[in-house]
Symmetry: C2
Amino acid sequence: MLDAAYAILVGVGLAGFSIEAVATRSGVARTTIYRWWPSKGSLAIESFLEGFRPQLTYADSGSSADDFRTLLQSLARALGGPAGQVAASVVAQAQSDDETRRAFRDAFSEPLRRSTAALLRAGVDSGELRSDLDVPRVIDAAVGALYFRLLTGQSLDRAWAAHLADTLLRGCLAPSVRR
Amino acid sequence: MLDAAYAILVGVGLAGFSIEAVATRSGVARTTIYRWWPSKGSLAIESFLEGFRPQLTYADSGSSADDFRTLLQSLARALGGPAGQVAASVVAQAQSDDETRRAFRDAFSEPLRRSTAALLRAGVDSGELRSDLDVPRVIDAAVGALYFRLLTGQSLDRAWAAHLADTLLRGCLAPSVRR
DNA sequence: GGAATTCGATACACACTGTAGCGTAATGGC
DNA sequence: GCCATTACGCTACAGTGTGTATCGAATTCC
């Protein structure tokens, strides 16, 4: 059923995503789906997590800047593909369903935020990044830019992510490392 | 009818937003609404534009950095209020309706992008901002961060916007002006 | 004052939701 | 091997919203 839900979200998009459609496609009775998922949102988010989780690269090269760039690139690569369509659908669903919003935050958004924060803080500690770096804002900007491109249907690839990372990092590097 | 649509989106949110509900609330027949708007999305976006347009501040203080900060603050202020709820609903609608997506981009997203780009380019020309500034990415980051906070239901106010602007500007200022 | 337009009201076919009830097949413990 | 539990398919149902068609009444324009 998760496969069917994923396939529908990737193919037809949120417009054609209904319990009915998932049931038909997966060859399962509608009642069976209701038995397992309380709402459309929870089904969507679970199918997203199923298909997305293993695609991120948390490098540890010794340079926080490089690791940051690598992470953003892997994010862009993942969200630029089919999973991006699913992610956008989940975010859209979350606008009319607090439960979905909460689930998405807890299962995806916050963990990602925490990992990124740890990565940047390591850079601050090592002296590579400026000591007064406003980590939450940098993450808002980075993740936000990805959201923005994703939800406005613009392309999302490694090259774009690399440029974004470089642009952001210019304000993050410690004075002694700046170009 | 636009007032009714706006009020519903602000109050109940996207969940309770239906042609039916707008008709009932505005005391109008459902058929009349269908006569004027081809889709739910076009109704939502028009009610958004009606209630939002006049709220942005395009300052011209002589400093691009200050103007950028001011613009971001006014955006945050506007989107942090009731209109933000409506904007989020429109973006969500746009995920299942290409027409809505296109309309939102043409009527809101792109003009805002263009104005911001002009503002930043003026800073580049005046020498306040670095000559190799990647303007599109800075805008992606700034606008994206706003989107992100908006769509994940996080607060959005002037103080946050000011910190965001400062964080971004650190990577934008020309070497001679840097702190 | 007559024509054109716009509206309200009703009706209809359709799709999806969410719940309930019932019979059936598989599973797992003893 | 038997029996209880569990999960499933199927059907039915009431409710809500969609989108279209039709028609008479009200309003506006000239």
